[in-house]
Amino acid sequence: MLTTPTPGPDRSAALLLLSDGRLPAGGYAHSAGLEQAIARGWVRDATTLGDYLRGRIHTTGLVSASFAAAAQHRTASAMEAGDAGGTEGLAPLGAALAGLDRELVARTPSPALRRIARDLGRMLLRAMRSIAPSTQPVLDAAGPVLQQPIAYGTVAAALGLTARDAAGLVLYEAAATPAVAAVKLLSIDPFATHRCLVGLAPELDELAERAAAFATADARDLPALAAPLSDIAAELHTNHDQRLFAS
C-alpha cells in the first residue's frame, strides 16, 4: 500500500536533500553550457557570468521549472489515486509524463541537450530508487527515462514536495550548476560566483512562482522560451576535443 507523504513546510529536509549538489546523481560533471561559453569568449568574468545566468533562468530555466511543476502535479495526483485504489491508480502516470516529455523535447532543439537531460533524468530516477526505496512504486510507474526537469518534478512529488518546491529547485539548479562550474573553468573568485546567485535570488523566486502556476496547465500551453545560443553552444561542445564537463 502506498502512502502519499503530506506536502507541507515540514518537508524542508527532503527539499534540501534533493537540491544538495552532493546528491550522487551525476550533476557534478555538467556546466550547463558554460564551458563552451567560456571557450568562445562569451563569458570572461563575474559580470558576464551573471548575465549568462540571468539569461538562462528567464528562458530555459523557466521552461524547465514549469515542466517540473507540471510533473509534480501529475505525479501527486496519481499518488492520491494510488492511495485510493492501490497501484492501479498509478497506471496512467507513465502516459501523462510521456506527454509532458514529448512537449519538453519539442522545446529543446539541440539533440545534445536532449541527450544530456535524458541521461541526467535517468541518473536521478535511478539514484532516488535506491536512496529512497519508498519512492520506488511511483518512480517505476513514472518510467525509466524522463527528461531531467520532469524527473525532478516526479521525485519531488514522491518525497511529498510541492509544485513550487520542484520549480524552485529546478530554477536554482539552472543557475547554480554553471555558477559552481565557473570556479573550475575561469580565474574567478568563488565568492563572486555565489554573489551572482544571491543577486539572482529574487528573480529565481519570482520565476518559480510563475512556473508553479503552470502545474495544472495543459502540456501544450507550458512556456517555450528558447535560448538559441545555448543550443548552438551545446552542439559545438559535443565536437570539442578538450572537455572537462559533459555539458
Partner: protein
C-alpha cells in the same frame, strides 16, 4: 518580468480557422487599428494543384503569381504560387493580422513575400500581432519562404506561426527576424513557432528578443546579435541532413525527430544571418539544400 504572454493569451479572441462569416472580428478597432483575416487554400483537382480559396483582407493581400526563380522542392513543378503583400505599412501597434493557410490533401503551395515586413510601434504603444495558422494535409507540401520580419524601435510585436501537419505532410519554412532597421534601436519581438505533426509536438519555441525581454542580450540566449533565423524541414520520408552539426559558432543543424530538422542561426546583421542559414542548409543535401548561388530571397541579392 518578461513582457511576453504565453501563446494561449496571444491567440485569444480569434475566429475559427478559415472562418470569415459575419460573426468574425470587426475590421477596424476602436482606435483605428486593423484587424484583418486573410485566407489561402489549395487543393488537388484532376491531378493538378489549384487555388481553392483566396481571401484578401486589407491590408493583407495574397496574390497568385507564376513560377519564377529556383524552386528546388517542388517535385514535378505542380504548385500553386502565392506572394503576400501588404497594402499599408505594418503591422503597427494595435493591429492584428491573421492569415490562415490550408494546403489540402495532395496539393502543393509555395508562398513568398513581395517585401520585408516592417513592424512599427503605432501611436498608442499597443502590441501588434501577426498570427499565421497553417494546416498541411496528408500528402500535401507547403514551401514558405517569407522575407524578414523587422522589429522597428519601440514596437511590441508578437509573431506567431502555428503549423499543424498531417503525418504525411511536407513543410519547408525559413524565417528571418531582425531587431531594428539599420542603425536603429531594436524593437521588442516575441516570435512563437509551433510545428505539430499528427497532433504531436515537433518544434515549439518562443523567442523573446529586444529591450522588453529580460536576459535576451545574455550570451546564453541571444547576445549582441541583431538577426535570428530558423529553417524547419518536415519530411515524412525522413529528415534530411546530419543528426546534429554546428557549422560555425553562430549556427546549428538539429534534428528534432526522425522526420523533422531545425536549423537555427544568429547574425550581427541580416547578410551575416543569411550566409549562415545558406551554409547550414547546404548540409541538408538534395532536394532541400540551396543550389549555388542560393535563391531563397524574393528580392535579388
Amino acid at each position: 518580468m518578461t513582457s511576453v504572454s504565453s501563446p494561449p493569451e496571444v491567440l485569444s479572441g480569434l475566429p475559427d480557422f478559415a472562418r470569415t462569416d459575419a460573426s468574425g472580428p470587426r475590421r477596424r478597432t476602436h482606435r483605428g487599428s486593423f484587424l484583418c483575416h486573410a485566407v489561402i487554400a489549395t487543393e488537388l483537382r484532376a491531378g493538378r494543384t489549384r487555388i481553392a480559396r483566396l481571401r484578401a483582407d486589407t491590408p493583407l493581400s495574397p496574390r497568385p503569381t507564376i513560377a519564377s526563380g529556383v524552386e528546388p522542392y517542388v517535385r514535378g513543378g505542380d504548385a500553386a504560387r502565392i506572394r503576400m503583400s501588404t497594402s499599408a505599412a505594418g503591422p503597427v501597434g494595435g493591429d492584428t493580422y491573421l492569415l490562415d493557410i490550408h494546403v489540402r490533401e495532395g496539393s502543393t503551395l509555395v508562398i513568398r513575400d513581395v517585401g520585408a515586413t516592417l513592424v512599427l510601434p503605432g501611436p498608442h504603444g499597443e502590441r501588434s500581432r501577426w498570427i499565421t495558422r497553417l494546416r498541411v494535409d496528408e500528402g500535401a507540401t507547403c514551401v514558405w519562404i517569407p522575407e524578414p520580419v523587422i522589429a522597428a524601435a519601440g514596437c511590441r510585436h508578437h509573431h506567431v506561426i502555428d503549423a499543424d501537419l498531417a503525418e504525411g505532410a511536407c513543410l519547408f519554412y525559413r524565417e528571418e527576424l531582425v531587431l531594428g532597421r539599420h542603425r536603429e534601436e531594436p524593437g521588442s519581438l516575441s516570435a512563437h513557432l509551433s510545428v505539430r505533426r499528427g497532433g504531436a509536438a515537433s518544434v515549439v519555441q518562443q523567442l523573446d528578443l529586444g529591450p522588453a525581454a529580460i536576459g535576451a542580450s545574455a550570451t546564453s540566449v541571444f547576445g549582441a546579435h541583431r538577426a535570428l533565423g530558423n529553417v524547419i524541414v518536415a519530411d515524412p520520408d525522413g529528415a534530411p541532413g546530419p543528426a546534429a552539426a554546428a557549422p560555425d559558432t553562430g549556427s546549428a543543424v538539429m534534428r528534432q525527430d526522425p522526420s523533422c530538422v531545425q536549423i537555427t542561426a544568429v547574425g550581427e546583421d541580416l547578410p551575416a544571418l543569411r550566409t549562415r542559414l545558406d551554409t547550414a542548409m547546404g548540409l541538408l543535401g538534395e532536394p532541400w539544400a540551396a543550389p549555388d548561388p542560393p535563391g531563397w530571397s524574393a528580392i535579388p541579392r
